[in-house]
Each structure stands twice: as C-alpha cells, then as structure tokens.
Symmetry: C2
Subunit: 154 residues, 2 copies
DNA sequence: CTTAATGCAAAGGCTTTGCAACCCG
DNA sequence: CGGGTTGCAAAGCCTTTGCATTAAG
C-alpha cells in the first residue's frame, strides 16, 4: 500500500469516527507517514511543519497528537526524557522495543518475538489484557562519548 | 541487614563520595527504606515529609532525589504519566518490571529471569553495555472500571 | 447553518535554579 | 571557617486550555 493510500485510509477512519478532516490534521498524519519508523516529539513535528511553511500552531500540533493517540493511530513512547515521542501504530506489526543509549541519546529499535511471547505469557499469568508492551534497555553504546549529551550522568 | 544498618551504610557512602550528610537527606533516604518496594514520586515524598512534620522543602526534595539517582541509590521509573517515580536500587536484586493498568493506574511489579536473560542477550547482539532494563506491559486489569482515573482513554 | 477545530496567549503541572542564609565537617 | 546545602520564590520547560474566530460537513 502506498503512503497516499494509507493516509487516505486513516483520514476515512477519522471521518468515520466523527472527527473532521482539516488540512492541519492531514499534514500531521502525512508527516508521520513520511517519517517511516522514526519517533517524533511534538516539537519535532512542529519544526517540520514550520520548515515546510505549513500553517499549524503548536497548540493544534499537541491537540492533533493527543487525538491520534486516542484513536490508536499514533503510539506514545516514553524514554525517560522530559518529553514524549510519537510513532505510527502499525496494527499488523508486532510491538517493538528500544535500546536507549545513555551516552549519545540515540535509540535502537528492535523486534523480538520471544520478548512479545514472554510478555503475553506474563500478562496471562497476572490475568490482565495486554494493550501494548515496551521493553526498554538502557545502555551505553560503543560510540564516542558525546559531552554535549551526557545529561544522564553529568 | 536491618533498615537502620542499610541507612547507615548509604549515608557512609554519601560521605565517602564527598557529599554532606544533612538531616534532610537522612530523612529522605529513610522514607525510601521504609517504603519497601513502593515507588514514590517527588510529590509523594514531599507529602510524607510534611505528614511527619519534617522540615524539608520541595526544592530540596527534588535535589535530593536527583542526587540519589546520580549516586545509583535510587532508580528513576517512567510510567508514561506526567511525573517520574523513584525506588531504592538493590544491587543484588535483578531488574524488575511492571504491568501498568490503564484503567486504574495501578502497577504490578514482577521479576522474570527469562526477561532479564533475553535483555542481556539482545544487548550483546547489539554490542551495548546494559545499565538497566525495564519491561513495561500496558494492560487492562479485571478490576472495576474507575471513572475517576480513566485518563488514558477519557 | 451548526458545531467542531483552530490560533493565540494565558495558565498549569512538574521540575529546576539564583541567591542569600545556613550549617556540616 | 569554607564551601556544600537549604529555603524561598522566581523562572523554565513542556503541555493544556479559554475564548473568540474560522471553517468542515
């Protein structure tokens, strides 16, 4: 399916749930489509909007992100930083997980069927219904130490 | 080892690293010792302090928490809420993980050797050195739905 | 038309910080 | 004593919200 098809589909979905389709919403969704598997913060999205000369306010950016999360189009990620990140939900894809480097703040995304399997089994054991799962490995990668970003250890 | 012994040990550690031991710091550390395996937010700690008639300002509470995290005495937890939680680090204990209920906001803590093993293996595969890991399962528990707290779905 | 959505600026929640007073070692 | 530590209040950062205006359906 092309990006355009996907965007079309998501927009239809919005309409079906009683939301209005505005150019602002179209633009934000498109940004995530084009971002591939990158995670963007609200500020990231806003900067991309501005760089592209789009007319979307910060407030609307936040409101749109929140709505898209509620609709299960975006998923909210939490990396122990001061702000959240967002990425497109892919219903067909299994949950994926992250290695977060405490030196350089880069994240490595990975999938692992065993982790997912284990998560399901654990949830079952505790009698809860899984909505999402995230395995976060905080680590130091072998990259050069980046003084600028040593915020986790100072 | 008793709680008093542990506190004593941690305080010695502080001193050894050039930090001063103040009544405020003693009190905060003690609160975590007595909290067992509960995770407290900065606000939680501050409330406990006030309830106990202790003289510790909010600013000092935050500063102390930050220092204790830097010293690896506390560990910072992130549950996709608006604020962080803290708990005592236990060097000898394996990392533990959390099920977070999206209905009632309760967390279930669990340990799982397989998860830890898997995490180590994954880190190895990516050539990074593990500092910490957290497996978070977001789920709905079978408790009654609590309207007051349905903040993740409104 | 009707009502949701937007933009703006102000407010909010949580956390950090500047500075003078304080007190640990 | 000297410099780390505290308390207070102000500032900061990210996010949300009230309200008048605009625009989707």
């Amino acid at each position: 399916m092309t990006i355009d098809d996907k965007t079309e589909e998501l927009l239809k979905n919005l309409r079906a749930q009683g939301y209005r389709i505005t150019p602002q919403r179209e633009t934000v969704i498109r940004i995530f489509q084009e971002a591939g598997d990158k995670h963007l913060s609200a500020e990231d999205v806003y900067e991309i909007l501005q760089a592209g000369g789009e007319q979307v306010s910060l407030a609307t950016t936040y409101r749109t992100l929140k709505m898209l999360v509620k609709m299960n189009i975006l998923r909210e990620l939490d990396f122990a930083e001061t702000h959240k990140h967002y990425e497109l939900v892919d219903e067909n894809a299994p949950p994926h997980h992250h290695i977060i480097c405490l030196n350089c703040n880069k994240t490595i995304e990975f999938e692992d069927e065993l982790v997912n399997e284990l998560g399901k089994r654990i949830a079952e054991k505790y009698g809860v219904e899984v909505v999402d799962m995230q395995f976060q490995i905080f680590a130091n990668c072998p990259n050069e130490e980046d003084d600028e970003n040593r915020k986790h250890r100072q």
